[in-house]
Subunit: 126 residues, 2 copies
DNA sequence: TGTACATCTGAGCAGGTGTTCACATATTGC
DNA sequence: GCAATATGTGAACACCTGCTCAGATGTACA
């Protein structure tokens, strides 16, 4: 029943065995955790998060204005936006020489809201 | 109106100026983006995310079983759980020599759900 | 076309992060 | 008490990540 080789500690063989087996199969079989981690890693940087908050507040901003809003160099802003754009978190629109960025979909706003909710309420009931 | 020193590019002074000023004040004044980034950084690791998914599936697991479920050493599991516990993402319960971990609150499950939703639907309408 | 502006890109480097190793602590049963 | 199991801790290391710098690309206007 899927005894994992190489890890020989935890000698107990109680009733949790089947639950562990089912869990390892489920976690290992689906690639979702890895992709979710990739998404969270992008949001796990203060500069990028501040950019998202700025876009959430302003609706739409060009690179230079966004750079000033978060007080980061325009080059760093461009690098960050590239990552966010590739991941589909933000979308861009060209107007003349400027490129305006905005949040791509509502899921991002929801993630920010839920996170803020978590922080505000601290650790509450399960 | 809060011209940021040290960043002298982007010479345009169009109608967006006030919006930028308001945005920079809002983003800079609130520490929420930084704390949200800290939270997302914790979730931005594949090992930790798989642990959360395992706990989400199994409900409750001791360290050694969780280590086998995500196929990581028990030491690495303990280190990861310490970070998650300090952040209030997981909670623990001692039963004999074993320590059982579970998701701390419903916000984490919601974050995982919304993230999965985002990935499944890709980038849709704003 | 040439100049100025806005954005993008690649290389290089400092700082942060996750893992492993060795050891410490805690709990149970003899 | 002692031995065995389960978990926690700190240091060392390799790896990754985000920033800056220099330069390239794209766009508008004279």
């Amino acid at each position: 029943m899927a005894e994992i080789a190489g890890l020989d500690t935890c000698r107990d063989t109680e009733v949790d065995e089947d639950r562990v087996a089912a869990t390892v199969a489920w976690v290992g079989g689906v690639e979702e955790p890895s992709r979710v981690a990739d998404l969270f890693r992008l949001l796990g940087d203060a500069t990028r998060t501040r950019m998202l908050y700025a876009l959430l507040e302003a609706g739409e901003l060009c690179v230079c204005d966004l750079a000033r809003a978060v007080e980061v160099s325009e080059t760093a802003t461009s690098h960050a936006l590239r990552l966010l754009r590739t991941a589909g978190i933000v979308a861009n629109r060209r107007a003349g020489r400027k490129v305006y960025y905005r949040l791509a979909d509502t899921h991002v706003r929801l993630l920010l809201d839920v996170s803020g909710e978590h922080l505000r309420h601290g650790e509450s009931a399960p």
